[in-house]
């Protein structure tokens, strides 16, 4: 029964996984461009983000069509409404990654002086995104909970970067612009982490029907 509906739900799942993969790719690319100060790499981010935006539009219209045609209830309804919310967060991740890449171009070859810290932060954020997409694919509640907990780590990193940059501005006020650029990059990473948390929360909703409110 409803094999047509099941096929469409499977297709929706596949599209979401692909969008998730694109998010992982785009954030990994931006972070590599940052740590290697590679402008060419950075230029590759924008087209990827465009793909992510397109995916968002596709999946959104797919969801609306399913809501109209199939009048889903219970777990079907949860799956479709979670999908609608997740694509928003994933699309924002793409935008955030593009913003980072833009600043990297702007930095024009200057390598990040907060290298280790920024690299750590980038790595933690990438892991959060990867794990949130994984949690969605495998319907893994424990993994989703881990992502939500890991956000504290990324937030802590952000605080550390902020203090370091404040000290740096204090020491070299002339180089303030560079410091602020780095701060913005760190902020973007932090927000990507928040979006990854949202995705994890929607994963939990689609499985249990309970949406976690902090």
């Amino acid at each position: 029964m409803r094999s047509h509906f099941d096929e469409q739900l499977a297709l929706l799942n596949k599209e979401l996984i692909e969008m998730g993969a694109l998010c992982e790719e785009v954030i990994a690319l931006s972070s590599k461009a940052l740590t290697a100060a590679d402008k060419e790499l950075a230029k590759k981010v924008a087209p990827l983000d465009a793909k992510i935006d397109q995916k968002e539009r596709n999946i959104e219209s797919m969801c609306l069509k399913l809501l109209l045609q199939q009048q889903p209830v219970a777990r079907d309804l949860r799956q479709i409404s979670a999908a609608l919310k997740m694509i928003t967060d994933m699309e924002r991740i793409g935008d955030q990654a593009e913003d980072i890449a833009e600043i990297v171009c702007f930095l024009d070859g200057r390598s990040a002086e907060n290298d280790d810290l920024m690299r750590e932060m980038a790595r933690a954020t990438i892991q959060m995104v990867t794990e949130s997409v994984d949690a969605f694919v495998k319907h893994d509640l424990l993994l989703a909970e881990k992502v939500i907990a890991d956000d504290d780590i990324v937030d802590a990193f952000f605080d550390q970067v902020k203090s370091k940059l404040i000290k740096k501005i204090g020491k070299e006020p002339s180089d303030g612009e560079y410091a602020l650029d780095l701060l913005m990059i760190a902020k973007y990473f932090e927000r990507i982490g928040d979006h990854a948390v949202n995705i994890a929360e929607w994963v939990i909703f689609s499985v249990t029907g309970v949406h976690k409110e902090e």
């Binding site: 029964m1 409803r2 509906f5 009048q71 889903p72 209830v73 219970a74 777990r75 079907d76 309804l77 949860r78 029907g209």
Partner: protein, 251 residues
């Protein structure tokens, strides 16, 4: 909200075949309770037990208790006529009598002893208004009821049931034989009526159950599988069988 009908371990057999297995449920008053389930699951049988319409079928055996208020409806001393006055019924296919519209609505009151033209006129008008059909028929009360459209006939049947001032209205798939516009008129009517009456409605249409009911009971093969607030049952059903049925993944 108190419970107006309480059913405890109700079992019913048609001859040797068991149609209801240990059904226990409480129907809260002045609300709409929907009964859903696949064909042959016992929901209509259950409904007809509540006003003892199953008495009309030979070979029916019942155990367990059904309490309307404080009285056990199967008690030998129960006045079945009065029970059916207080628990009215609307059937799947509209069944107005081959009489005038007025006589149709007045049939119930006359059965229970109401006499006097003025009184009956009053009751007829009130019932037709409550059933949201007064304006359409007020100029042809003496015309035969069979001349009305399907949707109008069903609303007439509702008016006829309301004429005896019941406390509970049982509706057995009341809109399954009607077009979408008549269906939505009757759904609107049910929502208005629940302020004054308790409504128990059997429906095959799950969207209808979601739209209008406060509580939903899911029946399967004679058993009550799950019963709860409609919103919860349809968004987070507890039993897998319920989820399989409402998502249409049923065999």
């Amino acid at each position: 909200m108190s419970n107006i009908i309480t059913i405890d371990k109700l079992c019913l057999w048609y001859g040797s075949q068991q149609a209801l297995k240990n059904v226990s449920i409480d129907i809260p008053e002045k609300s709409i309770t929907a009964l859903i389930g696949p064909s042959g699951c016992g929901k209509s049988t259950f409904l007809k037990t509540l006003n003892r319409m199953n008495d009309l079928i030979p070979g029916v055996r019942i155990t367990g208790s059904v309490k309307y208020g404080e009285t056990d409806i199967f008690d030998v001393a129960t006045d079945v006529s009065e029970l059916r006055r207080q628990i009215g019924m609307v059937f799947q296919k509209p069944n107005p009598f081959p009489m005038s519209i007025y006589d149709n609505v007045a049939y119930g009151p006359r059965t229970h002893g109401t006499k006097g033209k003025a009184k009956l006129d009053d009751i007829v008008e009130r019932s037709l208004r409550d059933a949201a059909i007064w304006d359409e028929v007020k100029d042809r009360l003496k015309k035969n009821a069979l001349g009305l459209s399907g949707g109008q006939q069903q609303r007439l049947c509702i008016a006829r049931a309301l004429a005896v001032a019941p406390a509970v209205l049982l509706m057995d798939e009341p809109t399954s034989a009607l077009d979408p516009i008549s269906t939505s008129k009757i759904e609107e009517l049910a929502l208005q009526l629940k302020d004054k009456y308790t409504i128990v409605i059997v429906t095959h249409n799950m969207q209808q159950a979601v739209r209008i009911s406060d509580n939903t009971a899911f029946f399967l093969l004679g058993e009550l599988v799950e019963y709860g607030a409609t919103e919860k049952l349809f968004s987070q059903p507890v039993d897998k069988r319920t989820e399989d049925y409402i998502t249409g993944r049923f065999g």
